[in-house]
């Protein structure tokens, strides 16, 4: 174990900021993508539902590491010169999207039949039904598993170090290569991951309390 050079922590902090940014983009993009995906799961056409199932099974059944390498090497082969950051973000969006989609699908399935019937009996048009009834209910039903995937996304972003995305894990590895302070640096990196995940978790809990206070009080007795 060598000494830890000054500035290491600042470098790690910078890496953590990149990780957080990657995760934030992946969560935002993945959520939008997942909403589109999840609607496929409820299509009237069996083919469309099969496309959904295939996508989810393939993406969920592939290690993120393999997926990252695949996209990283596949994009240039398709003549798309993007670099690791775009490729890395894309991989995360594709991966997290499949996980979110399953979360949302579960949420839609959890909507009680009477709620559908109420919406139907009011003659609500599809978009209004989605915006005013389905989305708010699914949000409330799926917040805990949704936050779970968000936390996982932060940690999963570390895999992108394999395709030379400079984020917290790669920053840590670089410092370790120069200083050999393996445990100190990895410990610091782990602590930073923990802080980010813990923060997300707390945020999720607050949101949950906020949403459930408004309207679901009686159901949690």
């Amino acid at each position: 174990m060598g000494g830890v050079p000054p500035g290491s922590f600042a470098l790690l902090l910078h890496g953590a900021a990149v990780s957080l940014l990657l995760a934030a983009v992946a969560i935002a993009g993945g959520t939008v993508f997942a909403i589109a995906l999840a609607t496929l799961a409820f299509s009237r056409l069996a083919v469309v539902r099969a496309v959904y199932g295939l996508y989810v099974y393939v993406v969920r059944g592939t290690p993120l590491l393999v997926l990252a390498l695949l996209v990283f090497y596949a994009l240039p082969a398709l003549d798309l010169r993007t670099g690791p950051y775009i490729a890395g973000t894309l991989v995360l969006v594709l991966y997290v999207g499949a996980l979110f989609a399953e979360v949302f699908r579960g949420g839609v399935l959890a909507i009680p039949r009477p709620q559908w019937e109420s919406a139907r009996s009011l003659g609500l048009p599809p978009f209004a039904k989605f915006r005013k009834v389905i989305a708010p209910l699914v949000t409330r039903y799926t917040l805990p598993p949704y936050v779970n995937v968000c936390v996982m996304t932060v940690k999963a972003s570390s895999v992108l170090s394999i395709i030379s995305v400079w984020e917290l894990t790669l920053a840590a590895r670089e410092i370790i290569e120069r200083t050999f302070a393996v445990f100190t640096i990895l410990g610091m990196a782990a602590a930073l991951y923990f802080v980010m995940c813990f923060g997300l978790d707390r945020l999720g809990r607050r949101l949950e309390r906020h949403l459930l206070r408004r309207g679901f009080v009686g159901e949690r007795a």
């Binding site: 009477p114 709620q115 019937e117 109420s118 139907r120 009996s121 009011l122 003659g123 609500l124 048009p125 599809p126 209004a128 005013k132 009834v133 708010p136 209910l137 409330r140 949403l211 408004r214 309207g215 679901f216 009080v217 009686g218 159901e219």
Partner: protein, 251 residues
């Protein structure tokens, strides 16, 4: 007016409606009674197409609802957009209230007018407040359903159905899930609707209430209307032996 002719429905191989004919005149209140499984709730749900049906037709003021007979392709459901338009002429109140839990009382009532009928926000809100005052809940406008008693929730559900300015109101055992002391407040609200001269169909086990507010009572058994008449005819001078037996058990 509503005209129901030869309504038939199966659940798989089990017939639940075996040819129901029923006319409901403007301003008329009809109660559907019968033991559970006789098809009365299914009939009610067919009227606003929460259930599909296999034969027969339902007309509202002469317009055929829910299905079209097409010479080339046979009997077909109307399009979703048409079904939505038709549903807006009806209001239904469910046994379990079925309010949207994430919306306030006022939001629940205003939802239909706002987003199905595209009534401007201010106008819809004024209508909502007026209706909630009418059902005695103007003080609970910003409460959430979970903060209300069953009776209060059911009154909100009635206001929500009325907000569509329906031609016909359907009530599906609306007091069955309520504690006995809350039944009266909901019945009072329904009673007060009589002055609107709106068509109403009530599925109910409350025979006393049916006698009081219904112009006619239909007794269903095994998927058909076995006896139809004034409350006095059905409840005091029943002819059908199964109806006599049913009334004896209800006492």
């Amino acid at each position: 007016m509503i005209q129901i002719r030869g309504l038939r429905k199966w659940f798989g191989s089990l017939p639940v409606l075996r040819g129901v004919d029923l006319d409901i005149a403007d301003g008329e209140v009809v109660a559907l009674i019968g033991r559970s499984g006789c098809g009365k709730t299914t009939l009610l749900r067919c009227i606003n197409f929460l259930e599909e049906y296999d034969g027969g037709d339902i007309r509202l003021d002469g317009e055929a609802l829910w299905y079209r007979d097409d010479a080339a392709r046979g009997r077909r459901r109307v399009s979703e957009a048409e079904a939505r338009r038709m549903r807006q002429t009806m209001g239904i109140v469910f046994q379990q209230y079925n309010l949207f839990p994430h919306m306030t009382v006022l939001e629940n009532v205003v939802l239909g007018p706002r987003f199905s009928q595209h009534v401007p926000a201010a106008e819809a809100e004024a209508l909502g407040r007026r209706l909630l005052t009418r059902v005695g809940l103007d003080a609970k406008i910003s409460a959430y359903p979970a903060q209300l008693s069953g009776g209060q929730q059911q009154r909100v559900a009635i206001a929500r159905a009325l907000a569509m300015r329906p031609k016909i109101l359907l009530f599906d055992e609306v007091t069955s899930a309520l504690d006995p002391e809350l039944v009266g407040e909901v019945e009072d609200v329904i009673r007060a609707l009589l002055s609107d001269r709106i068509m109403m169909v009530l599925v109910t086990h409350a025979l006393g209430f049916a006698r009081e507010i219904a112009h006619r009572i239909a007794y269903l058994a095994e998927g058909t209307i076995v006896e139809l008449g004034t409350p006095a005819e059905i409840l005091d001078r029943p002819k059908d032996p199964t109806l006599k037996e049913f009334l004896r058990r209800m006492r």
